[in-house]
């Protein structure tokens, strides 16, 4: 088996999993990228959100074949490059259990990439497909606001 290539946070990786394996399990089980969380397996909770060639996708409903040869960014990738959302998440003390937060941050990063100056309403709309059971929604909104405002200042 030759395997499928993925570029994960800039690094090329060869995966041996069957092509119909959900990207989520390839990332978690084969590549050890455990920040990509399993919450529902059906694209309902957003905990597994990653960027595929810069676009946010639910890695649980996408196969390895769909992603082959493409570039994947996870929250580790954002943290490594000093993305302002990571610092904003800490500054706002956003997390409770923290399990959904990598997916929240990836969704927020996609929002800021396409709309660097979102309104409060746009933030809420963009963040409403990512579930959090601990009620961190207000701090999520503030963290996105903080990161966006920080970008404006630069």
């Amino acid at each position: 088996m030759t395997g499928s290539q993925l570029i994960v946070n800039g690094a090329p990786r060869i995966c041996e999993a069957a092509p119909d394996t959900p990207l989520l399990w390839v990332l978690r089980d084969e590549l050890g990228v455990t920040s990509v969380k399993y919450g529902c397996g059906e694209g309902l909770c957003g905990a597994c959100t990653v960027h595929l060639d810069g676009e946010p996708v639910r890695s649980c409903t996408m196969t390895l074949a769909d992603a082959a040869g493409r570039s994947i960014t996870t929250v580790e990738g954002l943290a490594a490059t000093g993305h302002p959302l990571v610092a904003a998440w800490v500054a706002e003390q956003t997390s409770q259990c923290g399990y959904c937060q990598p997916g929240q941050i990836m969704t927020a990063a996609a929002l800021l990439a396409r709309n660097p100056h979102p309104s409060d309403e746009q933030i809420v709309t963009a963040m409403s497909d990512n579930l959090c059971r601990c009620g961190t929604y207000h701090r999520i909104r503030r963290a996105v606001r903080r990161a966006a405002d920080g970008q404006e200042q630069r």
Binding site: V90, C97, R133
Partner: protein, 711 residues
């Protein structure tokens, strides 16, 4: 190890001295629920609960068995020690202790107890260590201790000399334990009441946080277990060959909870499980459904229940009342639905068992695992991981026991993964309940008689036997403590026995009972034609803490003042776990008839506000969980099985439906109360009472259906 001394109260001991720094053991009271203000008590056979370690490099480590579920207990416990220790917060860390029957006291993380239990003792321990560090520095310098002070991880002499805690730790360990170290005055607190950055925030923002499902051991395999969807059913036959034909599947075998498929990866295990096509012997309860449970509850509600409270003479007062009100309230089963589904990693070897589990009850899990593995408890090494939410679900040891049963068949470590559907179908649900309420008003419109009859399963009876229920019926919690001053009050419980697995759900029976208490009380106020706030205040004595939160929430919300067009307000209050909370909800209906909760104004009296940011976060979390239950939450049964299978048919609150939340903290220095659970129970009745104010329709069942507000 050497015992350098014991305080008179015997709650503190230096257990490590010499070159390794300072290691101190702290005993916390087990019965804190009985007396949260407990500061002393003899502890003749010293049993520690928390350890404080200061390493030669200056790192301050708090070792606790309490679990970090997202509630921030680790940070808050460390704050209590660090405050008195005058530690440098950036050098403070918390270490999760592995399960042990005695070494860490009660490790069970529930009942909003971690900070309450540690309030006095953890501060005293920090103060004792501080005094010992000062004494060590003074001895080193040959100067009086009275000329030295502790600050930010240093002992500093008035003359300007300074020594770091790391350099002093070994010498401090040889100092005598001060028997009564002075505690700081509240005005001098740097952390308590101000908050400190949470110790887990960086890891939870940069992707490095590890939860139970993230455990990766060398050679680890993954397993999925097919469990009978019908409670009490068993696997009859299955297609092992089909499962084994899935690439990556290694083994198929039966375990007590079902049929296990072990594979190289999660996806292979799940596919293998699918291929099993198990035929089930569904057992005796295969016809059970919601309608049948409602029938059984209604029949049981005709009986007089076990008396939990009987003040005055309800029957006579009710019979003679000028006005009588009666109502039935119904609430469903609820799932916990934490974002991280069930999972556990176990490795059975010849020497014992090693387990990694996102648990909130490590000791129960450890003893149950020992029993399942057939080994003595000391052969079970259980590591508690962070939990991706818990809300009471992870108190149960079932998922740990199952992983051990699977691991007995496997060479090497194996992680049992639950899907979301598994998690909903095999939860231990918040019990469903049926309530019959009766109240009597006298000729002057005063409330003179109140009866609350509850029909439900008992968590205690289901898991610990009828005796546990007979001794102390759990299902009346939050009802028997009904706080209003009325001369004739009866609270009864009728025990329903059903095969539906039930368990503790954030604030437990307070959820159901507060909803009923506060909605029916609102009905009485409306019948008497009295404003709901004035009605409650009229039934509470001056100085009552519940009265305090009601008044604060009402004034902050502008109760009685103008309400935006199309909106209405309602209020509710409840006390539990040592704290008092009132909410004012402001609601409207959308054009399509959907319920919109715009704002909750919340007053919390938890005695001492250790971490105001943490309190606000716990209010937010309670509101999110409670509103999920108010708007959507319902586990229903059909053909003996749970119908819901994912977040589309068991929805939880989304960001766009999170109301504005305005929290007001009352901190009068009363005994410190819990905060993880108390804000939850009054949410649902505040919303329901606001909807009554808006529509004139009484909500007597949850979740609230828009249809219940029409016609």
């Amino acid at each position: 190890m050497s015992g350098a001394g014991l305080t008179r109260r015997s709650f503190l001991q230096v257990v490590g001295a010499g070159g390794a720094g300072l290691l101190m053991a702290i005993y916390l009271p087990h019965r804190l629920l009985a007396d949260p203000s407990d500061t002393g008590g003899e502890n003749t056979a010293f049993t520690p609960s928390v350890f404080l370690r200061i390493d030669p490099d200056g790192t301050v480590t708090v070792v606790t068995g309490r679990c970090e579920l997202g509630q921030g207990a680790h940070t808050a416990m460390a704050m209590l020690i660090a405050e008195e220790l005058e530690a440098d917060w950036s050098r403070v860390r918390v270490e999760q202790a592995p399960a042990h029957p005695t070494l860490y006291g009660s490790m069970t993380t529930g009942g909003s107890s971690s900070v309450r239990g540690g309030w006095n003792r953890l501060r005293q321990a920090g103060a004792a260590a501080r005094e010992m560090l000062i004494a060590a520095a003074a001895a080193t310098w040959g100067l009086p201790a009275s000329e030295c002070r502790a600050e930010q991880g240093w002992v500093i002499h008035t003359g300007g000399r300074r020594l770091g805690y790391g350099d002093l730790a070994a010498a401090a360990a040889k100092q005598p334990l001060p028997s009564d170290p002075p505690l700081k005055a509240a005005r001098d607190f740097r952390l308590i009441g101000h908050g400190a950055p949470r110790l887990d925030m960086e890891a939870k923002a940069n992707g490095s946080a590890k939860f139970g499902l993230d455990v990766r051991r060398p050679g680890q395999l993954t397993a999925a277990v097919a469990r009978c969807p019908v409670f009490g059913g068993k696997a009859k036959s299955w297609n092992e060959a089909a499962a084994r034909a899935v690439p990556g599947v290694r083994a198929v075998f039966s375990v007590p909870s079902g049929v296990a498929v072990v594979a190289d990866s999660t996806w292979a295990a799940l596919q293998g499980r699918e291929a099993l096509a198990v035929v089930w012997d569904e057992g005796a309860e295969a016809a059970l459904d919601g309608a049948e449970i409602a029938r059984r509850f209604a029949a049981l509600a005709e009986q007089e229940g076990k008396t939990a409270r009987d003040d005055g003479d309800f029957a006579t007062a009710f019979a003679g009342a000028a006005r009588r009100l009666e109502a039935v309230y119904e609430q469903p089963y609820l799932a916990h639905a934490a974002l991280e589904p069930g999972n556990c990693t176990a490795h059975v070897t010849r020497d014992g068992v090693e387990i990694w589990a996102p648990t909130q009850g490590p000791q129960w899990a450890q003893s149950a695992a020992a029993e399942a593995a057939g080994v003595p408890i000391e052969k079970v090494l259980l590591h508690t991981t962070w939990s991706g939410g818990a809300f009471g679900r992870r108190l149960m040891p079932d998922f740990v026991v199952e992983a051990v049963e699977v691991a007995k068949h496997v060479t090497g470590p194996v992680q049992v993964v639950w899907t979301r559907a598994d998690d909903l179908a095999h939860d231990f649900h918040r019990p469903a309940s049926h309530h019959r309420l009766a109240a009597g008003l006298d000729g002057d419109g005063r409330l003179i008689a109140w009866r609350h009859r509850i029909v439900s399963q008992s968590i205690g009876a289901q898991h610990f036997g009828q005796g546990a229920y007979d001794d102390e019926p759990d299902a009346v919690d939050g009802a028997k403590q009904w706080p209003y001053q009325v001369p004739n009050v009866r609270v009864e419980h009728v025990l329903a026995t059903l095969p539906v697995p039930i368990g503790w759900w954030r604030s437990v029976y307070n959820t159901q009972n507060a909803f009923v208490n506060e909605c029916f009380l609102d009905e009485c106020a409306a019948a008497a034609g009295v404003d709901p706030l004035a009605w409650r205040l009229g039934l509470l004595p001056a100085g009552d803490r519940l009265r305090g939160v009601l008044e604060r929430a009402a004034s902050a919300a502008g109760w009685g003042g103008p309400v935006p067009a199309g909106r209405a307000r309602g209020l509710a209050a409840h006390a539990c776990f040592g704290s008092f909370v009132a909410h004012v909800a402001e609601v409207s209906l959308s054009g399509s008839g959907g319920i919109v909760v715009h704002r909750l104004t919340c007053a919390v009296d938890c005695g001492v506000a250790v971490d105001p940011g943490g309190i606000r976060a716990q209010v937010d979390g309670s509101v999110a969980l409670a509103l999920s239950a108010v708007l959507f939450g319902e586990i229903t049964l059909e053909k003996g099985r749970v119908r819901q299978r994912n977040y589309d048919d068991y929805p939880v609150l989304t960001n766009d439906r999170m109301p504005e939340i305005d929290v007001h903290i009352i901190a009068n220095g009363d005994p410190v109360g819990g905060i993880g659970e108390p804000p939850l129970p009054p949410v649902a009745p505040a919303v329901a009472n606001a909807l009554f104010a808006l529509t004139g329709r009484r909500v007597r069942r949850l979740p609230i259906r828009p249809a219940d507000l029409r016609g």
